[in-house]
């Protein structure tokens, strides 16, 4: 009886936490900036559009990405997509909407995990036994941060940094544009250390020094502290950006892989980011711990 009740409670708590995350993604339109909106089709089309679109410029002549953005063509549950016949699409507590994978490479659109990592990440041990790190008020991490809620890009006219501010848990990304040297590998951060450069109209951001404590989605897909991420951001019309991330991690994967989606401009007049305090009011983590869920902190890949 007690076990059964605890089980139902777990489901309810998880469902509520997940609903909260899911509610933040916008519905998928049939066409976006003249491109189809299935992720791989959008990706291929957007790469072509990027060649011809001339973005607005800052006073110093760089592409002007400033303003408020939201993600589109995303879902929070899994980067590997949810098929119509997936049992989770008919889950009585939380029916996940069927959606194509955000993965656009490799061709099978699955994360190329090494064999040891499959039972952890692919709706495995993480999903069944651990608390989603984001639920503990940590960063969503890269790339998940860019699909949660609204964000704002600031480009100081000195061109030495780009700042990417996120509503989600008051997270931020400092992107150094000044070609400074890397930081020693034993310095590890939740959002890593990012260095950026312009390649034509594309902002290319390389991130290392990640602690590997985040999940890429609600279902527990992950990388370790040896991951290297390369984000490429290109405007394809005045209000739409192509966002692509290459994820490499020699510890967890057999090859690099890639996700892609869109960032669209937030149009609401007078829109501003608001302070999203999280830990200050959080009540869910102690309950999840009582129900036997564990804190993650990379425990599975560290102790393998």
């Amino acid at each position: 009886m007690t076990t059964r009740r605890a089980g139902i409670l777990t489901l309810l708590v998880v469902a509520v936490a997940s609903l909260d995350a899911a509610a933040q993604t916008l519905p998928r339109p049939p066409v976006l900036a003249g491109c189809p909106t299935e992720n791989l089709a959008f990706h291929s089309c957007a790469l072509q559009k990027a060649k011809t679109f001339t973005p607005p410029r800052t006073s110093s002549g760089k592409p002007d990405f400033q303003g408020y953005w939201r993600s589109l063509l995303t879902m929070s549950f899994t980067v590997e997509g949810v098929r119509e016949d997936d049992p989770l699409a008919k889950d009585p507590f939380q029916a996940w909407e069927a959606a194509p994978p955000e993965i656009v490479e490799p061709a099978d659109r699955q994360i190329p995990y090494q064999p040891w990592a499959v039972p952890l990440g692919r709706r495995g041990v993480h999903f069944k036994e651990y608390i989603d790190p984001r639920t503990t008020c940590s960063t969503g991490g890269i790339p998940r941060l860019s699909l949660q809620d609204a964000s704002q890009i600031l480009q100081p006219p000195t061109d030495d940094h780009i700042l990417w501010l996120h509503d989600d848990h008051h997270q931020f990304r400092v992107i150094a544009m000044d070609q400074r040297p890397a930081v020693g590998k034993d310095v590890k951060l939740w959002n890593g250390i990012s260095r950026g450069r312009w390649e034509g109209n594309t902002l290319v951001v390389e991130t290392t020094n990640l602690n590997g404590y985040i999940w890429m989605d609600d279902s527990g897909n992950f990388y370790t502290d040896t991951a290297r991420l390369t984000e490429r951001m290109t405007m394809i019309d005045a209000d739409v950006m192509h966002y692509e991330v290459t994820i490499e991690d020699p510890t967890a994967y057999t090859r690099p892989w890639k996700v892609a989606w869109a960032l669209v401009r937030e149009m609401e007049a007078g829109f501003e980011l608001i302070e999203e305090s999280c830990r200050e009011g959080d009540r869910s983590v102690p309950n999840l711990l009582k129900l036997g869920r564990k804190l993650y902190f990379g425990a599975t890949w560290k102790n393998r």
């Binding site: 960063t139 600031l154 030495d160 931020f172 939740w190 564990k294």
Partner: protein, 257 residues
């Protein structure tokens, strides 16, 4: 009468004189393309204000320090002074900062960890190593949103007064303290911050604190912010609540082994 309608030439001379007197065009300051002092970079205090704003001797784990408060006097009302003393007695557990919460403003400014300033013509953004805190100071002429709002770091609207960035901050919670010594405020807290570069590597940071529910009059603190000049200095992260969780997870794992 004559003063009320000066001839254009007189007015121009007065403006020049005024800017000389206030040092409004200190030539050595780095400037952004729009001519404002360039506050960008990584900054940090070198004081003990986070532990105790006022004069204090060393305590275990707390270096002694001199006051950052004008006249060393924080003008509590009789009832709120009792609360402050009680806070001090219980500070090891009662200080909300010990739970890893956002430490409020101005305390976030003098936590002993670095923060970074970014500046555009319409925004000054501050990102903090401590608790991944962010302050967005709007310098685009917009007013505070209508309250009541209880934000841990308040709502900040700034303007340039000559070479000084003046920031008005309201919409606070009553859940943060001003230091570990139990100095506190209510949700009626109103701050006016003044950021003045005194050279390329120093910012004079001055805050007027007003809170009619707690103090008998406005009072002021001031301190220096120092530029971190190590060649590859970067903002890292120190997330107290998650570091506590990480320790807890390690303890749990040790137990089950």
């Amino acid at each position: 009468m004559r003063l009320a309608a000066p001839r254009p030439m007189t007015a121009a001379v007065l403006v020049v004189l005024a800017s000389t007197w206030t040092g409004a065009q200190t030539p050595a300051l780095p400037r952004t393309p729009d001519g404002k002092p360039n506050l960008q970079g990584i900054w940090q205090v070198l004081n003990t204000a986070a532990w105790d704003l006022q004069d204090h001797s060393a305590r275990l784990g707390v270096p002694g320090g001199q006051t950052v408060v004008d006249g060393n006097d924080i003008p509590y009302q009789p009832a709120t002074l009792k609360q402050k003393q009680q806070n001090f007695a219980n500070r090891a557990t009662a200080d909300p900062e010990t739970k890893g919460f956002l430490p409020g403003v101005p305390r976030i400014m003098y936590m002993p960890l670095p923060f970074q300033i970014f500046q555009t013509p319409t925004h000054v953004a501050m990102t903090f190593e401590y608790a991944q805190a962010v302050r967005i100071l709007y310098t685009n002429g917009t007013p505070h949103p209508r309250g009541p709002i209880n934000w841990w770091l308040g709502d900040s609207r700034g303007r340039w007064d000559g070479d000084t960035l003046v920031v008005d901050v309201v919409h606070f919670t009553d859940q943060t303290w001003l230091d570990r010594a139990g100095n506190f405020h209510s949700d009626a807290l109103h701050l006016v911050e003044r950021y003045t570069m005194t050279g390329p590597d120093h910012i004079n940071y001055e805050v007027t604190v007003e809170d009619p529910k707690v103090f008998t009059r406005p009072w002021k603190m001031s301190m220096l912010l120092y530029r971190r000049k190590e060649p590859n200095v970067r903002l890292l992260d120190y997330l107290p609540a998650l570091l506590m969780d990480e320790e807890q997870a390690a303890r749990e794992r040790a137990k089950t082994k």
